[in-house]
């Protein structure tokens, strides 16, 4: 009965609020402007942060999200760099030792260890030349950790790698630069002056967080790499694929133990290597995300504050304009909370209009950006829309409370006498 009454009163209030807004379209729209800006800011901010997360996850998947990196240096910055500088370098042979340890471990969480050496090189084919190409030397097992497909050809085989054959796999940009408009397969390229036969070209992958491009790389067998370029101490690493990426931490522990055995470290001695994982990149992104969140929240807060002041003002005006109506309603039996509810519903309707307009604006902005730049991972989540609308409702309640309260406390006789 009492809940019915509140429901009926609320229904009536929505109707009155709609009529009120229809009668003052421009005034209501201008008032809702602050809320519109606020909601656009908060939803755009959320979309940007989400977009960064999505693009990050995509990039991790590109690298292979089930790979651990055994390296001399950690990926995060260190203060005591001298403790790291004295570490022995990682050698490609460590991969073989690790594979032996893995093979002797029952129920190992690790699948395979692959050595990777890298340097920058110049490539030539006929008149065409490209500089500063990231060139990797690795074993035939690389195919077991390589998460991409080939546009043409294949990866070199284990026997080819072991025999130190002069074969290579090109990133697609390298292939296109050296062999524009024709197949690169079975052509010969000069890498630092040494002839290599192209056995494969990778499909286009794009860049990792815009930092470096996978399409600008070259792979060759480790034997050939060592023969012509030597092994640069800081540029060698071992990549280890784990069997179950949901148990990455356990796998990391096992790998640490295995590597300590390879290095013959005694209990109590500190690790003289680092196991890196891509998750570490994610933390580097945190300050950027925090910056966006802070700026977004600041703009949102400011816009909503201005919007709330506007709504409060307009609701006070509405209460004053309709003082006699309030008196009449009280004479007809409206209770305090009825009047409170009525004016809260009016202020919430205005801010909700702002909220809906803001969400629509953000949706169309996102659609527009997506149409213009399809590569950007922009996706407006439904949760964000719901949050935006809730924020709008909250703003309406906060802004409307003072005027609605004052309306509910009006003395009915005074209100009826009001001119």
């Amino acid at each position: 009965m009492s809940t019915h009454r509140l429901l009926y009163e609320a229904n009536e209030s929505w109707r009155i609020a709609a009529a009120q807004i229809r009668a003052h379209k421009l005034r209501s729209l201008l008032t809702a402007l602050g809320v519109i800006i606020g909601i656009v800011a908060v939803t755009l901010m959320g979309t940007a942060i989400r977009g960064m997360d999505i693009s990050f996850e995509n990039n991790l998947a590109m690298l292979g999200d089930d790979i651990l990196y055994v390296q001399k240096w950690p990926w995060h910055n260190v203060e005591d760099w001298w403790n790291y500088a004295n570490r022995p370098p990682i050698r490609p042979e460590d991969a073989d030792s690790l594979n032996r340890v893995i093979a002797s471990t029952p129920n190992s969480l690790l699948e395979v260890a692959v050595p990777v050496c890298a340097r920058s090189a110049t490539l030539k084919a006929g008149d065409a030349q490209v500089n500063g190409i990231y060139t990797f030397g690795t074993s035939g097992d690389y195919s077991r950790i390589l998460a991409v497909d080939f546009r043409e050809g294949r990866l070199f085989t284990g026997p080819e790698a072991d025999a130190g054959r002069q074969v290579c796999v090109l990133g697609c940009d390298v292939a296109d630069a050296l062999f524009p408009g024709r197949p690169a397969l079975d052509q010969t390229v000069l890498i630092q002056g040494q002839p290599f036969r192209v056995v494969g070209v990778l499909v286009r992958q794009g860049s990792f967080l815009g930092l470096f491009s996978f399409d600008n790389q070259v792979l060759m067998p480790l034997g050939a790499f060592k023969k012509y370029f030597g092994v640069h101490s800081t540029q060698a690493e071992v990549r280890v694929k784990v069997k179950d990426k949901t148990r990455l931490e356990e796998a990391k522990e096992e790998l640490t133990g295995a590597m300590r055995r390879v290095r013959a470290l005694l209990p109590g001695q500190r690790d003289n290597f680092t196991i890196n994982e891509q998750q570490a990149f994610k933390e580097q992104l945190d300050p950027v995300k925090q910056g966006i969140a802070l700026a977004g929240l600041f703009i949102t807060g400011l816009a909503l504050f201005v919007g709330a002041i506007g709504i409060m003002n307009i609701t006070f005006v509405s209460v004053r304009e309709r003082t006699r109506e309030i008196g009449t309603r009280k004479a007809l039996g409206a209770r305090r909370k009825t009047i409170l509810l009525q004016f809260l519903i009016e202020s919430v309707s205005i801010s909700l209009i702002g909220g809906v307009a803001g969400v629509l604006l953000t949706v169309s902005l996102c659609l527009g950006v997506r149409a213009a730049l399809p590569s950007l991972p922009i996706e407006l989540s439904p949760a964000l829309i719901v949050i935006g609308l809730f924020v709008a409702v909250g703003t309406g309640i906060a802004a409307g409370f003072a005027p609605a309260w004052s309306a509910s406390r009006l003395n009915p006789v005074e209100a009826l006498r009001y001119e």
């Binding site: 009536e12 009529a19 009120q20 039996g333 409206a334 009915p412």
Partner: protein
């Protein structure tokens, strides 16, 4: 439409007064105005029974509206006793007063006080919204009330599409719709021409004869003559109380 019937003594029906509805005793109402205090009511005692048709008369400023607001539970006395249907009004809180106004009292104002953006039906439904009646039932009751005041064909008109007399009829339908114990009208013809005023008073007479209890505030003898009992106020005091 109800024909504008000029009341002649022959056609007058006076119903037997029923139980006590309003019982005030020594009611004083003061309005503090800066340094001085306005004595709007200086000690008024009055009993009103069901089935009465009462006019409250007096010159402007004599306290008629103040008394009316008091009787209508819009205001409480500064001192004095007020019992409505045997319940002590002075002890009620805001929500209880709102409830009494909603269920027991129907107000008719000089300026009609209709909601401008709602049609006649919605205006008449409003008291039923506040008493928690379901929408379908509410609409039936509002139609009934509008038909009772002769506006069955104007239900969906907004106030600005109605004449002054029609607006006041809508307001009367709104006062009737919750079947209150009494109908209170403060200068109901004050904003109407005399012809329309007479029609409205005929409507009140009709409503009285059909079983309603009515209190009309006016400063015009012509209007007061419609009532069966006239109470005269002067300077916040009861001057005369006469049955016609």
């Amino acid at each position: 439409m109800i024909p504008p019937a000029a009341p002649s003594p022959a056609s007058r029906v006076t119903r037997t007064p029923g139980p006590l509805v309003i019982d005030i005793e020594d009611v004083v109402k003061l309005y503090p105005m800066g340094a001085e205090t306005i004595h709007a009511l200086r000690g008024v005692s009055l009993k009103i029974r069901r089935n009465e048709y009462l006019a409250i008369m007096g010159p402007s400023g004599s306290g008629k509206s103040t008394l009316m607001n008091m009787l209508g539970c819009l205001d409480t006395p500064t001192t004095g006793r007020y019992e409505f249907n045997g319940r002590n009004v002075a002890a009620m809180d805001d929500d209880e007063l709102a409830d009494i106004r909603n269920r027991e009292i129907g107000f008719v104002f000089q300026t009609f006080n209709l909601l401008p953006r709602s049609n006649a039906l919605r205006n008449v439904e409003l008291p039923l919204v506040y008493s928690g009646m379901a929408p379908e039932e509410r609409e039936d009751r509002a139609r009934e009330a509008l038909e009772a005041v002769g506006l069955g064909n104007r239900m969906h008109h907004k106030p600005n599409e109605l004449s002054g007399g029609q607006r006041q009829r809508v307001a009367i339908a709104r006062a009737l719709v919750n079947r209150p114990s009494i109908i209170l009208a403060d200068e109901p013809t004050g904003n109407l021409d005399s012809q329309t005023g007479t029609e409205i008073m005929a409507l009140f007479n009709d409503l009285y004869e059909r079983g309603n209890t009515i209190i009309v505030v006016t400063h015009e003898e012509d209007i007061a003559r419609h009532a069966r009992r006239i109470v005269r106020l002067r300077d916040g005091l009861l001057d005369r109380d006469e049955v016609q």
